[in-house]
């Protein structure tokens, strides 16, 4: 197991785990913290997995996810702001 994979596994266990826990508990606005943590952690995990396994062109996946996660989370915040 290379260092990249060790770092990716650490991120998945120590980052995605808490993000899922936070996103699954509390009220709708409170879960936003888990959603906002899951986005960057997933992007960083994908970067490390691409470094370990994939061709360098696959780095377009985390780059695309960054933009999509930003738009999606912003939409959640906007809708919750009008309904709360």
């Amino acid at each position: 197991m290379t260092g990249w994979l060790v770092a990716a596994v650490l991120l998945m266990a120590g980052g995605l785990g808490p993000a899922l826990w936070l996103a699954a508990r509390g009220d709708a606005v409170g879960r936003l913290a888990g959603l906002q943590l899951a986005g960057p952690v997933t992007v960083l995990t994908l970067l490390l997995l691409v470094q370990a396994y994939g061709p360098s062109s696959a780095v377009i996946l985390p780059l695309t996810l960054t933009v999509l996660a930003f738009a999606g989370t912003l939409l959640f915040i906007r809708l919750l702001g009008t309904t709360e």
Binding site: G14, V29, G30, V43, L44, Q51, V59, L63, T66, E84
Partner: protein, 99 residues
Amino acid sequence: MTVVAQVLVFAGVAVVVVSALAMLRARTLLTRLHLLAPVTTLGAPLVGIGLAVANGWSLGSGAILLTVVLLAVTGPVLQSAAGRVEAQRRGAIDEDLPS
């Protein structure tokens, strides 16, 4: 993987993991958002710079650096927007103010 890249990547991973675990202990959304800030503004750039150092100058390194710059720019925007919704819910700010 050079030593410098390894140190940078694992420092970034440590920042992300410590922040995530601290968010579990926090009780309010505003405190959690406060603890979320280092993930995008410190942890992600450290990991990205470490990967760029390992790859050297290439198009892939440029895409990695663009990714972490986007994370560092969009993270505070999302956190401030979520903080505003929470403040409105608590009645701390006027709901009629333009968003």
